[in-house]
């Protein structure tokens, strides 16, 4: 039953990704991209990464759509003559090569929960975090503990970068959008 759900979800994400790439109308692409973000958030939740799923929910459902809409509001959206883009042959070749490399990489990954995975080849480090993370940070999820506890300053720095980017976006937009009467 788990695999049936995964396959159905994979089909949905694949369909949304293809539609995002192939549709011509920019407004339609923005809407389809929101659907893609829904599918990806479901995937993250299904793979038990609730923090990533939460980020995808907040960014994909809200911020991305607004930013893309603001972009086409300040530029020109031309009416497309055709609904579906014809794939570009050289781009398809490059994409096919990239796909082969990616599939080759993914199939070389150690299986889920495999004892030969690199994460187990250094058991002192892994076990240290698994044993101490709750005691040190009082966070149940070990990944979240590492992200927001042990490397908290690093995450804080990332947050500062994102905050600065958001402020500069608002400054640019304030000149373009908010000053309109």
């Amino acid at each position: 039953m788990v695999s049936a759900f995964g396959i159905a979800l994979f089909g949905f994400v694949l369909a949304t990704a293809l539609a995002t790439a192939l549709l011509r109308d920019i407004l339609a692409v923005i809407i389809v991209f929101a659907a893609y973000s829904l599918g990806m958030a479901l995937f993250y939740a299904f793979l038990l990464a609730p923090d990533v799923a939460m980020t995808e929910a907040a960014i994909g459902a809200g911020v991305t759509t607004l930013l893309l809409l603001l972009t086409i509001a300040t530029t020109v959206r031309e009416e497309p003559g055709i609904a579906i883009e014809r794939p570009n042959l050289p781009a398809l070749v490059v994409f096919g090569g990239l796909l082969v490399v990616m599939i080759g990489t993914v199939t070389q990954f150690p299986a889920l929960g495999s004892r030969n995975a690199p994460v187990w080849s250094n058991p002192e480090v892994t076990q240290y975090y698994l044993e101490h993370s709750y005691k040190d940070t009082k966070v149940h999820n070990a990944v979240t503990a590492v992200l927001a506890g042990y490397r908290g300053f690093d995450t804080f720095g990332e947050a500062v970068v994102v905050f600065a980017a958001g402020i500069s976006t608002l400054v640019v937009l304030g000149r373009e959008v908010f000053t309109r009467e």
Partner: protein, 106 residues
């Protein structure tokens, strides 16, 4: 065997695996419904059709997340479902404003 004090015999054929399977199966059916709804998103023909369809997809996502939370025993997924339920209307509002007053988003 009756648990002390309840007086109700536990239903033997309902196991934890069966409950998980039923929740995951329901979630799978919902995903198939989402795929069917996605046809309307691609086909259009108008922007309003697409926005409405994606709104339905968002509501479906909330349901699937809640089912996943029950099936996998992960209550934290309910938080994501809540975030989606709260943010789902945002895109519809933004695109509505964009189409009514050309260029206005915020």
């Amino acid at each position: 065997m009756t648990p002390a004090g309840t007086g109700v015999a536990p239903v033997a054929f309902i196991s934890a695996e069966l409950v998980t399977d039923v929740f995951l199966g329901t979630a799978t059916v919902f995903i198939l419904l989402v795929v069917a709804m996605f046809y309307r998103v691609v086909k259009g023909p108008s922007t309003q059709d697409r926005v409405l369809a994606v709104n339905v997809l968002g509501t479906n996502t909330v349901v699937v997340l809640a089912l996943l939370a029950a099936a996998l025993g992960e209550p934290s997924l309910l938080d994501i479902a809540l975030v989606y339920a709260l943010l789902n209307f945002l895109m519809a509002v933004a695109i509505s404003k964009f189409t009514v007053e050309r260029g206005g988003v915020l």
